[in-house]
Symmetry: none
Subunit: 221 residues, 2 copies
DNA sequence: ATGTATACTATACATTTGTTTAGTTGTCAA
DNA sequence: TTGACAACTAAACAAATGTATAGTATACAT
């Protein structure tokens, strides 16, 4: 159920009010803000409740609870409802998922051939929605100073990339993190650190394999 | 200012109430919970406000705003075995904890007086063991390229630092991330980015306040 | 001994606030 | 054209709610 522009306006005001002051606005405060009568504001609250954006608790003053925070749920999307590695909050909402940290990445295998899983780290589930993600502990300083040795990179499994993306690729036996560029028929893997050399490979030669795109960095000092 | 056991009990109830229902309790609801008269509950609210734990907004119904989220002084023990924000694995082992993301940090208060909690992010509990930790979303590029704008820094609450530590300090009204050095009687706050200037302050002048040490960085690309 | 702080009872008052009743106006689809 | 919905006005009611007045009892420090 979508909101009308007016309802959205009012919903945004309520969210902002709570964020700023720590408690929801009263019916009259909403009315004052939009120069409408309490009854009109009240009607809007009922509409917002009917559409599932908030809940009104009985007839309590300021008895509002925001239910929808960003957009909606990705309805019917690929919520990886795996049986393992998920954490439940008391209410039952998913908040984090155990993401595997891969040591070495096996050659040949598509993406997640789990030769060496060094452990797992819980990550916020919002950052993983609908994605197949793994972590990699970075060894070299080829992407310094953007990514430093010992950093964990959060990698989204995907077999292709766009110009400028930071990718994890399998060159020979080793997994490396580089910046990806395609120029004409050639693929370039550029390090951010100038002390390292750019790799140039013919496209489609099969010499490299893109494992995924770096969508985050995790540094534990 | 420490809370009495009774005040702590009531403060915990208020925090739990907000977390569960989305809005603060009324004076009478507090009274009913503890079987005391509205006036007694009201007195407790005034005590909690006087001690800086919450703020009452005028005479508005449920006009409460929590200011202090994590325990009091971390004198001695620290492990906040709070009932909220923790995730349990199916076997019952703790793996992650919801860590608050602070927007602005209030001046004056010891360490953890919080103006705006923008949300929470689950972090691996092993990284937080025995520490009092919060997150801060970085705004400027003064620590670039080590820390970039929009990065989250993981901050361990502590009132002092050692040379070379990256710290979060309160200079005037604003919280800034800089590298800390002490030389003779002067404190230096150096940015990694040369385009920014080093701040020099007399030690013990009270002009700056160390909020904590950066123990991690979180980048969502 | 006196003052201050905590923690409460009991009643009362004045708003604040959610909600009701009773309508109007405009849009848009069946 | 009829009906549903959105978006409102205007006034009123009853309940919820913050707060004041006026006290009691206990603990602790000066």
């Amino acid at each position: 159920m979508e909101l009308t522009p007016r309802q959205k306006e009012i919903f945004e005001f309520i969210k902002g009010f709570i964020k700023e002051r720590g408690f929801p606005p009263s019916v009259r405060e909403i009315g004052e803000r939009f120069r409408i009568y309490p009854r009109a504001a009240f009607d809007h609250l009922r509409a917002l409740e009917r559409k599932g954006y908030l809940k009104r608790k009985g007839s309590m003053s300021r008895g509002l609870k925001i239910l929808v925070f960003q957009g909606y749920e990705s309805r019917g999307s690929s919520q990886r409802a795996g049986p393992h590695g998920e954490h439940l909050k008391k209410e039952g909402r998913l908040l984090s998922r155990e993401v595997p940290v891969l040591g070495r990445v096996a050659a040949g295998k598509p993406t997640l051939a789990v030769e060496h899983v060094e452990g797992t780290i819980p990550l916020p589930i919002e950052w993983l929605k609908g994605k197949e993600v793994f972590l990699l502990k970075v060894k070299g300083d080829s992407m310094s100073p953007y990514i430093l040795p010992e950093d964990y990179v959060i990698v989204r499994s995907q077999p292709a990339a766009e110009n400028g993306d930071v990718v994890v690729t399998l060159v020979g036996e080793e997994a490396t993190v580089k910046r990806f560029f395609r120029k004409g028929g050639k693929v370039e893997l550029r390090p951010d650190n100038e002390h390292w050399e750019t790799l140039q490979i013919e496209e489609g030669s099969g010499e490299i394999q893109i494992l995924g795109k770096v969508i985050g960095v995790f540094r534990k000092c």
